[in-house]
């Protein structure tokens, strides 16, 4: 692996902040160029979200491949990267997942320094809440599994949870009496836009072309091998194409002539009006389907289950909002006085076992990074890292070997569906 350094037009530092403040911030260089596409590239990444941009960055950084274009149909991070609830964690039940997401969390821990871009990682801890003896039994097994995987995690009593989240209702008369929970203290949130922008700026500094408003309309093939893509900015040739388009994966693979085991569903999130600090941990309640945190701006960031039917409409169903708010108020009656300020939805690509798919495909030199479902944000660094490895070497990274398409034929699924609950 060639460890090259990106050449930033201006490095961000306290010094550069002071220097630019003196010139009224007129002197900042553009974070990335907006080049017109070349005729051909060694690698084209379709999708300028977190996974696509991270893949481009690690292609350059880890593998020395810089003749790369990232094609984005809208704007950078305007899809699911900008529509999630920014949770970062590695508390997955199965060892295959735990290993993968732990790499991702560790990369997140060093990301601001690595990218020279503040991604505002805040490791404030995430508590999974349990509402029955049976759920507590499951949590016991889950946290033991995590500790065996070397991932930090502790069981908590209701009183300990109350200390960390004072507004939560733990009285015996609560709609769902709290039995306890477990916490991963290294889990947290990061600024989602900054993750996309940081990777974009660093990839650009390696000379990678990031091309926005460039939608792929067709995949051109020759004798079972991909040779380029037709886009709204014309035909662009490519030796290899990697697809990282989340909910639109099936649309892209249909262009390439094959199907994948995915369904696209809307996943909603919403924020309340901003209030003073009331919650400095993340909470997740799988039984009642709600999870929440408070952003630095003071808004409560709230999510729930995904909409139940296939959808490519980025808005979502009102009944899901109602269900999620009911769950929220059963835990925090005090929040009934808050108004919701914004609501949105992203289109998630849900695989049968709720685990990702990073693999080669029936079309030669055409790779897919998909199946993140409702939890792609936390996977961005490791997703990009391992997808870049696959594209560069034609072999799956050891961490993603279990996440190939072949598992659906052999039956070796990694069934995080039940294990992950509503966690995102």
């Amino acid at each position: 692996m060639a460890a090259r350094k990106p050449s930033f037009r201006s490095r961000y530092s306290v010094l550069s902040l002071i220097r630019n403040a003196l010139s009224y911030h007129d002197g900042w260089a553009q974070a990335w160029r907006s080049p017109t596409p070349k005729e051909a590239y060694d690698v084209i990444i379709v999708g300028g979200g977190g996974h696509g941009l991270a893949t481009a960055y690690y292609l350059a950084k880890n593998h020395g491949i810089t003749n790369v274009a990232v094609l984005e149909k809208g704007w950078l991070g305007g899809g699911n990267t900008g529509r999630n609830t920014t949770v970062v964690r590695s508390n997955y039940l199965y060892p295959e997942s735990a290993r993968f997401y732990e790499l991702s969390l560790q990369l997140y821990e060093g990301l601001s320094r690595d990218l020279n871009y503040n991604v505002m990682l805040s490791q404030r801890g995430l508590i999974n809440l349990g509402f029955s003896r049976h759920e507590m039994d499951l949590f016991g097994r889950w946290s033991n599994a995590l500790q065996l995987s070397g991932i930090d995690c502790e069981m908590l009593t209701p009183a300990e949870i109350k200390k960390l989240a004072p507004l939560i209702d733990i009285s015996p008369s609560a709609r769902f009496p709290l039995h306890g929970g477990f916490i991963q203290r290294r889990a947290g949130i990061a600024r989602h836009d900054a993750v996309a922008w940081g990777y974009a700026r660093a990839a650009d500094a390696y000379g990678i072309d990031i091309i926005q408003e460039c939608e792929v309309k067709a995949v051109r093939r020759d004798r079972g091998r991909v040779i380029g893509v037709e886009t709204t900015k014309g035909y662009i040739g490519a030796k290899k194409v990697g697809v990282a388009v989340a909910g639109h994966t099936s649309v892209l693979t249909e262009m390439a002539g094959f199907r994948v085991p995915l369904d696209s569903c809307a996943l909603q999130a919403f924020v309340s009006e901003p209030i003073k600090p009331v919650l400095d941990v993340l909470l997740m309640a799988g039984l009642v389907h709600v999870y929440l945190s408070q952003s630095d701006k003071g808004e409560l960031v709230i999510g729930g289950g995904s909409d139940a039917y296939n959808s490519y409409a980025q808005r979502g169903s009102f009944s899901t909002i109602e269900h999620t708010v009911e769950a929220l108020l059963s835990l925090f009656p005090a929040f009934s006085r808050l108004r919701l300020m914004r609501q949105w939805a992203g289109i998630t690509d849900i695989s049968p076992d709720r685990s990702p798919i990073i693999d080669k495909t029936p079309v030669e030199n055409f790779f897919v990074n998909a199946g993140w479902g409702t939890g792609g944000f936390k996977a961005i660094p490791a997703g990009g890292w391992t997808f870049a490895h696959l594209i560069a070497t034609d072999r799956p990274h050891p961490l993603i070997e279990p996440f190939g398409l072949d598992r659906f034929r052999t039956g070796a699924l990694i069934d995080e569906g039940a294990a992950a609950g509503v966690a995102h």
């Binding site: 639109h248 995915l262 369904d263 139940a308 959808s311 490519y312 034929r409």
Partner: protein, 92 residues
């Protein structure tokens, strides 16, 4: 949010129904199927962006299963038809 016109009960709110996924998937003979064919049947889906034939059940109503032809980007519904009916043609 949209309304679905149940063939038995008439137009009702989407929240009364349960989703059953893509419709018209024929079950191959398990004994005569390769692992590839079986995986295709169990897991691989068309997942169309556009007009999509799918199954719904009026769970909080008559409890009947039926088919719907719905546009997955606009939620417009063009046809509601019974489980044993022939699949309607999809015009672009």
């Amino acid at each position: 949010m949209f309304e679905i016109k149940c063939p038995w009960c008439g137009a009702r709110d989407e929240s009364e129904f349960t989703y059953g996924g893509e419709s018209h998937i024929a079950r191959p003979d398990p004994a005569a199927s390769s692992d590839e064919v079986w995986a295709e049947y169990l897991y691989y889906r068309t997942n169309t962006k556009g007009w999509f034939r799918e199954r719904w059940r009026h769970t909080f109503g008559c409890g009947q299963w039926f088919n719907v032809l719905r546009h997955t980007a606009t939620h417009e519904i063009k046809a509601v038809y019974k489980m044993t009916d022939r699949a309607p043609e999809i015009e672009p």
